[in-house]
């Protein structure tokens, strides 16, 4: 039962990653691309959790934590750059 759900989950999350990539490449404005990158980190965490269930390894949470923190900080830095033209004043 979990294996079948994992298959569907992998398919859905990989499709979501491709859709984010489309928005990053195509995005008409810079905030669109920043939003696409933010969503990409969330989907990377989702994919890591699915891999953690698939390989039965319980140590993937560290990578997910690092990706979450880096995603948040990079989104804040990009937003501040778009807002003010510089990140650190």
């Amino acid at each position: 039962m979990i294996a079948a759900a994992l298959l569907i989950g992998f398919a859905a999350v990989c499709a979501a990653l491709l859709l984010d990539l489309y928005r990053i490449v195509r995005g008409p404005l810079l905030p669109d691309r920043a939003l696409g990158l933010d969503t990409l980190t969330y989907n990377a965490i989702a994919l890591l959790m699915l891999a953690s269930l698939h390989f039965q390894q319980n140590s993937f949470f560290a990578a997910a934590l690092v990706i979450a923190m880096l995603g948040f900080i990079s989104t804040v830095a990009l937003s501040l750059y778009l807002l003010r033209g510089e990140v650190i004043e």
Partner: protein, 138 residues
């Protein structure tokens, strides 16, 4: 019996997470405006990632026989930081003035209008057309 119930719960959480992750990214691609696009990732994708993290925490808690809180901590971190980053992105987009640069989707003949209202048929069609053209102009 207990194992079956927990397996069904984990499979349901995985399916929920997969559905909401895909829904958030579909919203990111399909919505016509940046401020509409902001809705999908900040709500649906956060819920999807949270459901998957909860599924992993539940699975390893049951598998190893001891409580596991690392994934729940990541989930709390995501739930706290997602509104902050969305707020900053919205502020950046407002600062750049993206309202005027958004192009409306092409309207097909006879299809539902931009707001889901069939164009040219309902009583408020003139007002809808006026607001749409005003939006196109600004």
């Amino acid at each position: 019996m207990m194992a079956l119930v927990i397996e069904a719960l984990i499979a349901l959480l995985i399916l929920t997470g997969a559905f909401f992750t895909l829904a958030g990214s579909t919203a990111l691609v399909r919505f016509p405006d940046f401020f509409l696009r902001l809705h999908g990732p900040t709500k649906a994708t956060t819920l999807g990632a949270g459901a998957l993290l909860l599924a992993v925490a539940l699975y390893f808690s049951w598998h190893d026989g001891q409580l596991r809180v690392q994934e729940v901590l990541i989930m709390l971190f995501l739930f706290m930081t997602a509104p902050v980053s969305a707020h900053l992105l919205a502020k950046a987009a407002l600062h750049l003035g993206t309202r005027g640069q958004v192009e409306l989707p092409r309207k097909r003949a006879g299809a539902a209008g931009w707001h889901g209202v069939p164009s040219g048929r309902s009583r408020s069609s003139r007002r809808d057309a006026a607001s749409t053209s005003a939006m196109k102009k600004t």
